[in-house]
Amino acid sequence: MVNANKTRLEDQPAYVLHTYPYRETSLIVEVFSQEHGRLPLVARGARRPKSAVRGLLLSFQPLALSWFGKNELRTLHSAEWQGGQPLLQGKALICGFYLNELLLKLLHRDDPHEQLFLYYQQTLQELARRTDHAAILRRFEKRLLQELGYALMLDREAGTGQQVVAEEGYRYVIEHGPVRQSAGQNGVELRGKTLLDLAVDDYTDPVTLQQGKALMRTLINHYLGDQPLHTRQLLKDLQQL
């Protein structure tokens, strides 16, 4: 028989991605942990008015979680507030939801992504402190794809391996890379400059920002398959108000 202690993990750095009601008074908490990736935990009694963890299981806040169990659904034992992250507000909050939806839909359960975790943490800090939200999201999307094993080829042409030229026009072909505009009709059209800007995360040029958005959108849709992104619609609605 497996020793229960072996299946118990203490003080794991983690974030709450989403919660769902479970049974009468409990919650299922989808968390993103530094060492164990995304996993679901049952927070027993967390929906009771006097629950000790009720106010702590907030998304976008660094927590130290302890849990036990070795089944699909593990049990949350305790949550400790780590602090240091201002609550996300306004547009930054909606952007935060977008990050969480990407992680919920693109990360496999129990797949550790330590680098991505650290980058997520940094991105939340940036969202709280800065206003160039579009650039922050594009950079996160790029890192996310890279962590998932779909790193973008940006500064070289696919096939030929030639250096991308800022003044040339290209098409970005999914799972292939950039090709000269004249080479076909498939793929997202963009400037060589956009590709080179994206390669070094320079989003100061508005055209780069706009083309970068179209590119990331196409790529993310491809990897999501048929799953819709609800938060993208909300960001769009907000933009159009």
């Binding site: 909606i94 939801f97 609800h230």
Partner: protein
Amino acid sequence: MKTPTSLDHLIESLRCLPGVGPKSAQRMAYHLLQRDQAGAKRLAHALTHALDTLRHCEKCNSFTEVEVCDLCLSPKRDDSLLCVVEMPADLLMMEQAHCYRGLYFVLMGRLSPLDGVGPREIHLDRLVRRATDGIVQEVVLATNFTVEGEATAHYISELLTPRGIKVTRIARGLPVGGELEHVDSGTLAQAVLERRNVS
């Protein structure tokens, strides 16, 4: 022995209640049928009656049996103030606190981006129509201090501010009479962040 179809149907129907799984549904069904048939009849009647007569108030969107509810029609209320809450229970809490003399709008939900509940699903267009009647001057956002409640508050303020309406948000902080020792870290951290001058 096979469960009779009508019993099966009852058990299945009870499962639409939040937090009721197959076991609880079965227990409830047996209780109603065996121990409290009169109660079961009353329940069935009350449900049908409520479904037939209740509707949403034209003005505040809460449940009522008439077109516009008593609270919305009351001449004692300040009709330049409109408080937005998520659920009817929140409205009742506000009333119990005797702190507010304006009118209400009940969303009957909140934005929940990750569950696919967007502005259309909670009919924010109805709130906009209500708030822009020319009489409302200030909208007080009293949605929950959850991430969803905050997102809802932000979205509404983005909708109403450009329309020339003053939008305010109820404050959060330590409970009145509360001791620091017993408050949760999240509340305390935010209270420190949102500290104000003492004059």
